[in-house]
Symmetry: C2
Subunit: 475 residues, 2 copies
């Protein structure tokens, strides 16, 4: 049996005021007792310190004879029981605030006198902003995070490279009729040049060279972010949305972390229920996409005639977000077909809307899948089955209201994982996921440096393979 | 900076006897003070309990809104900060004590009236015995282990299958001239039948079927152990010596754990030093091996004429172990060529002998490589270079005494990882390594169950690939 301690009471307020001491108001009137009470308090405080020391010495201390011990597992402290030490590079401005500025200027914004006035624009790839801001917060506000920021790189387990690679992709000046807007006053920003210049900068860093990049963490949430240099950073832990644009030797579930997109519509704050969810299925988004997303047009053709289904073509805009929010908050199910790559932000909009996602994206990878069982919150249908005429709506109409409520109940339990602004939300979970990579990172660092020449007919890979043959639908 | 608490004193003995209380011997003579002292003690104790409760409630408790939370990361308790919950199957006797009995009977042993009288025979694959015994110890003796045993399978994160698969391999009756010894009185033990019967037994277990085996842990330390059924257990976490006999879709560094062999010669208990280590290089073992081990004969030919090298052919016996101990305790370097598979127990004998290992085994995988940097304790030479006439001894003779001492110092720091009997040794580290697999195990369980039909031209694998081209030698 698990010897989990049972003591939970008395309440924490008893820690300082001990039961033997008189109420505070009486203290001044009782000089003799005051002395005794002081003694008791001193004793209590001392005991607390002693106990603290005991914990610190015997329970949280490093075991003896322990070289190259992993901070991940052993450097516990009371604030941060299993945190890894992360050093965030102080990158040249052009890789962080400079990207925001270029983005703003290209859209007619004003130059700001102070970086703190620059506002990272709202978009689905803003994890890069949230992580950067999080590490910049005072350590007292970061209690409980799996990543402790260290200011000395020598102490670091991992190195975070906070380049705003997704915003950089779209910071290029908007082109109209192939002419760059205002090319004279503002030299055109170039994402590709910025990517390459990041690598040049990194290649001068001692810690980048030291372990061949294995202990570096990069964020490239837009599937096209860092595309030009990804081969140079592929040893690192990549924070990505999916593996749609990445080769098997560049990224994997084992080495990297799948992030949720930031949801773009407001969270549904009401309780679970189906009374106000009159439409069966909702989808709003681009009808025409490349690759896996081609299924969208087929689904439109099938679904747009169904009475209880709302399916609309729409691009990103404030107006369409407002409409999407209304749709997602008043539908039982929300369709999630693949985009150009298997992932799309719509899934996370559906989750925070408590609108049960119907995922039609055969190659999708999902964030935090060790702690979230997506079968409890979503329905999966394989593409071939989904496009059979009548299949989808027929099946969805048959789902009982009790079952919908159950999905909603589960959605409510996990939705904090998709809230970047929740202190117990996405950012915290991303760091936890990153911290879990440390043992493998250490292993690869040590192993790579002692490997001797070998003759291989195939690459030297350690894999985790799925042996499932695949199911058709979880409906 | 890492806000690690600095308090380490006062010493733990102060925890119970508070400074305000009189020495124990005075208590009976001081009735009034006794009362006060009792009050102080009670207060102190109460504060301790309160503080404990505070810790338990606020620091170690599960965060709110946390469904399907991973015990690995969140179910802290003071004894076992990041333990996973392991259920050990109560296997039918024939898979545990029955194997020891069959082994003993086949070697002329007596039938024992009580399983506690059965002695697991000393051998290099005895990790299976140590893990089984460890989980059978009272939980109070297992404080600090990363694996907490639970008696209710419903609570378990992982399921340990304690079949003595390595001993089973050699428990077949010894054949002399192809005739089974005493076939009439004792029906021949069959390892293959036992393996198959284990699978039959497992297939009736609800928890085996539930997650397709991903959350099951098997030990197969002998590279041939479980060979007949390994395809059926390949989803599980395998505790192995190397991947010599395993296919890439059966085992990997990512999914499995590399164990050290139990060392077979006594630990060197003296201090570091080279005064009593007069021979340069020592090796004793089988000259002729299959596959990677063919290099042994070549090395014998090269090295047996060198004056300061001791290289001897020898098989396992008490006498040769005695001789090997003498050699390893009095040599600076100990040769570790590949055996039939890349690993061999000799490496671990060398480590506990503080005899710097010279590893000539290009495909070797090493235990606990996330916490042990083997370049600090061993020398790696690639096979092609090692067999160049004169190369090895010339290089080794050039290593400074200071450098040898440095290797020894590092060996001393890590040798507890190779001591199965050390409470802070191998067994504890194996469970830590197993516990690190849990997030990936959970991920694979959840992911496999929601995967829909996909068309793949290659297996669906997540890999970690080494991009190194290989070095020749770390000398």
């Amino acid at each position: 049996m698990n010897p989990r301690p049972k003591l939970r009471s008395p309440p924490p307020s008893s820690v300082v005021i001990s039961p033997g001491s008189p109420p505070k108001s009486l203290i001044n009137k009782m000089p003799r007792k005051f002395t005794r009470s002081t003694l008791t308090l001193a004793t209590t405080l001392f005991s607390i310190l002693a106990l603290y020391a005991f914990f610190n010495t015997f329970i949280f201390s490093d075991p003896p004879n322990n070289v190259s011990s992993v901070s991940f597992s052993r450097n516990y402290n009371t604030q941060n029981l299993k945190s890894v030490k992360v050093y965030m590079y102080d990158l040249p401005r052009k890789f962080t605030y400079g990207v925001i500025e270029s983005y703003a200027l290209a859209r007619g914004g004003e130059k700001q006198s102070d970086d703190s006035l620059l506002k990272y624009p709202g978009n689905q790839h803003s994890a890069e902003w949230y992580l950067f801001s999080d590490l910049n917060r005072p350590s007292l506000e970061r209690v409980g995070s799996a990543a402790t920021r260290v200011m000395n790189p020598e102490e670091a387990d991992l190195f975070y490279v906070p380049f705003f690679s997704s915003l950089s992709l779209v910071a290029n000046p908007i082109r109209s009729n192939n002419a760059v807007v205002a090319p004279v006053e503002r030299p055109a920003y170039s994402d590709e040049e910025t990517q390459e210049s990041l690598i040049e900068w990194l290649e001068q860093q001692e810690y980048w060279k030291r372990n061949n990049g294995w202990d570096h963490v990069f964020i490239c949430q837009d599937p096209n972010a860092l595309y030009k240099v990804v081969d140079k950073v592929k040893n690192g832990v990549l924070l990505v949305s999916d593996f749609g644009r990445l080769a098997r030797n560049q990224a994997s579930l084992v080495k990297d972390v799948i992030l949720p997109y930031s949801h773009r519509i407001n969270t549904y704050t009401g309780d679970i229920g189906v009374e106000n969810r009159n439409s069966l299925l909702f989808f709003m988004g681009n009808r025409y996409r490349k690759e896996g997303g081609k299924i969208r047009d087929l689904l439109f053709q099938l679904l747009e005639k169904e009475e209880d289904v709302i399916i609309k073509h729409g691009a990103q805009s404030r107006e369409s977000r407002r409409e999407a929010r209304k749709g997602m908050h008043t539908s039982k199910f929300c369709l999630h077909p693949a985009g150009d790559t298997p992932s799309a932000c719509r899934l996370f909009d559906a989750i925070v809307s408590l609108c049960v996602p119907v995922i039609i994206s055969d190659h999708i990878e999902l964030p935090f899948e060790d702690v979230v069982d997506y079968r409890k919150i979503a329905i999966f249908v394989d593409s071939n089955t989904a496009v059979k005429p009548g299949f989808l709506v027929k099946k969805l109409r048959k789902v009982s209201m009790e079952r919908v409520l159950e999905y909603q109940r589960e959605l409510k339990k996990v939705k904090h994982y998709y809230e970047y602004e929740d202190p117990n939300g996405t950012v915290k979970e991303i760091w936890r996921q990153v911290s879990l990579k440390l043992p493998l990172v250490r292993l690869m660092i040590n192993r790579d440096k002692r490997l001797v020449k070998r003759e291989f007919t195939e690459p030297d890979c350690s894999c985790l393979c799925s042996n499932q043959t695949g199911i058709l639908t979880t409906l």
